[in-house]
Subunit: 501 residues, 2 copies
């Protein structure tokens, strides 16, 4: 690799090596010229997580970030970090390193990316502060690949400190806006790495489960010509010389796919809500995991498939992502997520009875407020020992016009929400598949039939009974991990006040 | 099941059963009341594709669409369709069916969904017009579950007719706008079912391959605060009291994830281009399969990963979706897709030499026109026998400002496109990871630095060398299947003239 101990044009010089002529190690360190794909060296870079006693006495090359550095006489201790793993490295004056080289190493800015050649050495005393506790790296060569600026907008160690500890001892933590304004650095913490690896796992488990169940993945348009759900809370887009809108859900398109005989479909994609809500659980753009499915005779066929899909996700996460769950819980302690098999299904009237017994006053046809949802979650947890359940048979009055009424009770509907730790993560229903009933219900809701003509027409050429629902990815991630703000589980969150980065 | 031979309120009455008192089969047919999840019957519905000689003499229930019906004296022959499968059913006057019942069956509108009870009977002569050639269903009960309106806006048989045949014999085909205006029906054809099942497979294979390679799936925002690539061709969104934009690619966010140590990321999501292009291969909204990856020393590490991912997709499709490929080729005949392992990589200058040898006049720093891309595809196919290849080292002048220049030749760049059957499906490059060089290149392109400050700042705290690219899902589907318009491979296409359905 071409490298040089002269600093690169325009980058801040590390404090200087005096009298380079006397430096017997001068070829062994420096700032590499920018990697522009000049060469294809054979060099193998070993992963930090693979630095274990099995590699003791091997000479290895490692690329990692400088997490911390600490000079101490003729030695410099570095902690090298690679994703959630780190290892201690030692540069000490001797055969391989000169005092200038130790000084160079000690002056590399934190978060810089370096290439290091070193010997893996077993240590006698475990290194408690690193994930690789049994070895350290004795550095023979050290080159800066990408130099970080000297002042970081936030410190990674502050960013992973549990907040309760910060309150107690006055040590710094990092507030949410600073994190989000500097997301590229905040995402490097072990907590962020774990959150978003687990989130990737949720998507993977969702699709894996549904594909095994015979579902087809569909892609639905986000730019739509009419605000299908009445026009409230919808973003307007300039579309050439006209206006268009951003889809508030893929529901119409999922239903069209059911009318087009795909039978069982799912999609994962952005959902847009122009709602001026600044709460811990609302975003203006979030990721929807959507399901729609034709059924034979009863929408519970669909409820069971959706609930089982969520159970498969929970099981998969607990099996495959235990390390990530543990990592997050170090900063945000929380009880493991509990669920039953099969999933508990409560009817709305049963939930009302539980709430009333706990002193809540509610009408039969009233929707659940957020505090009542949370209280219900606690009551259900006490009684049934589950953090996940289905609430079925919502009052017809509180659901959208396309919701199928319950044939046994005209005030109820064939609709359901699903809850994790007392917060709603999915809303769904049997949809009306009959164009005439759909028209009647739309009129009842005062909806302009002209605006939903295309929607109603979709059902005119034979439509199977069907049901479905939409899951909020960020909420599932948040609630599974017991976090408290959906901005922690959206990489680049969007709310009425935040559009950057 | 509750059912009635009186027609349902408001739906068109099938021609009437006279003198119901004399009808000994009157409980055996009729129009079911709307399925509102009244009951959970034990009845098992058998899939049409499972109706084979193994089931001969079994009594089965089937739910399917009426594809065609043909009355003939005391008999009525129906073709029952379920997705891409169909079977012949016979209602004949006898013990189970009265003449009124045969008449009822004969009058059910095409595309209606029905439940049928029948005996599976082996036939002596294969039924050439059905996928289930060895059996037919002798109907004992028949109920309409969802009645289609009598006039269909297009006929499914017309919609799957190969176009060349239409030209020859004057039989009807269906033009593209009629198809798209009535997409719910057009998507029911065997061709459409196959196209979109295969497209679902492309997404699945893409993710399966990348997750096996250690990639993490990310979700990137679609509403952004600034038009990052200069402001041309971007849709504007009203965002509360301000303006925002729709992301033209997830590139900035993918790169931020690389700067945040995720190392290898991918995402699948909508990409928006406000381009007034009305060609066979442009959409204003399409699905991007995006990859970004840190590399060690040379961007070819990334090119190889991406090319191998596409090869795994091609292999997976040919292994798992042969039925779908054959189905599409019945309507749109085409040569099987050919590719090499490892993938052919040509340099731009080699391609120029091939084109010049074929008589094309081009400058060294000129971009490929669409006709020249296609010609090059033919020349490459002739010489190397592959429909897929990488074209590497594009002239720096024709690539975006963030493209890494080639250190060996300042007029070239570390960038590449990938082609299928002579059309571009991916554009990618090594990105500049050094904030100073990025600033220089932006200034050279006349870009307002203030607008891309956040982008450049992402690289100030240590950034690994990295490269990536974005694949157009609809183009891959179109070109793999040898189709000729990207609207055939987008369920609900968006172009400057089309925003519905």
């Amino acid at each position: 690799m071409p490298s040089t101990n002269a600093s690169r044009k325009g980058q801040e010089k590390p404090r200087e090596i005096v009298d380079a002529a006397e430096d017997y190690a001068k070829e062994r360190y420096g700032i590499s010229s920018m990697i522009q794909s000049q060469e294809k060296p054979d060099r193998v870079l070993v992963r930090v997580k693979d630095l274990t006693v099995q590699k003791a006495d091997d000479v290895v090359w490692v690329r990692a970030r400088v997490h911390t550095s600490r000079a101490k006489g003729k030695q410099c201790f570095l902690v090298l970090r690679q994703q959630q793993f780190n290892v201690q490295a030692l540069v000490a004056v001797g055969d391989h390193a000169s005092k200038q080289m130790v000084k160079f190493a000690a002056n590399i800015n934190k978060e810089s990316i370096i290439d290091v050649e070193g010997v893996v050495r077993k240590v006698n005393q475990k290194i408690g502060s690193c994930t690789q506790q049994d070895v350290e790296l004795h550095v023979q060569k050290i080159y800066v690949i990408s130099l970080a600026e000297p002042r970081l907008p936030l410190q990674l160690d502050d960013a992973i400190r549990p907040e309760v500890e910060g309150e107690e001892d006055g040590r710094a933590t990092v507030n949410q806006d600073t994190r989000l304004d500097n997301r590229v650095i905040d995402l490097r913490t072990s907590t962020s790495q774990a959150i978003f690896r687990l989130q990737s796992g949720i998507c993977h488990l969702f699709r894996e489960t549904l594909i095994n169940k015979g579902f087809v993945e569909i892609q639905t348009p986000k730019i739509i010509s009419a605000a299908s759900e009445g026009g409230a809370n919808v973003f307007t887009v300039s579309y050439f010389k006209n206006n268009a809108y951003l889809a508030q859900s893929p529901q119409l398109y999922k239903q069209m796919c059911i009318c087009a005989d795909f039978e069982k479909v799912f999609c994962i994609g952005p959902v847009f809500r122009a709602e001026d809500s600044n709460t811990h659980r609302h975003l203006t753009e979030f990721v929807g995991l959507d399901i729609e499915m034709a059924f034979n005779y009863h929408y519970h066929e669909v409820v069971e498939e959706i609930a089982d899909t969520l159970v498969q996700i929970f099981k998969g996460l607990q099996e495959r992502f235990q390390t990530e769950i543990q990592t997050v819980s170090k900063q945000f302690p929380c009880e493991p997520f509990k669920f039953l098999e099969p999933t508990l299904r409560l009817e709305y009237c049963e939930a009302l009875a539980m709430l009333r017994e706990a002193g809540v006053e509610m009408d039969d046809e009233e929707d659940l407020s957020t505090p009542n949802e949370k209280l219900l979650g606690r009551l259900v947890k006490e009684k049934y020992d589950t953090d996940f359940y289905v609430l079925d048979k919502y009052p017809l009055a509180v659901r959208p016009f396309y919701t199928m009424p319950d044939p046994r009770n005209p005030k109820q509907s064939n609709s359901y929400d699903m809850f994790m730790r007392g917060e709603e993560i999915l809303s769904g229903a049997q949809r009306i598949h009959d164009p005439q009933l759909l028209t009647e219900r739309a009129l009842h809701h005062g909806i302009d039939l002209e605006k939903i003509k295309a929607y109603i027409d979709s059902f005119r050429f034979g439509a199977p009974p069907h049901a479905g629902g939409g899951i909020g990815l960020e909420r599932v991630t948040m609630l599974f991990l017991g976090l408290h703000n959906v901005r922690q589980t959206s990489m680049f969150p969007r709310d009425p006040k935040r559009l950057t980065p």
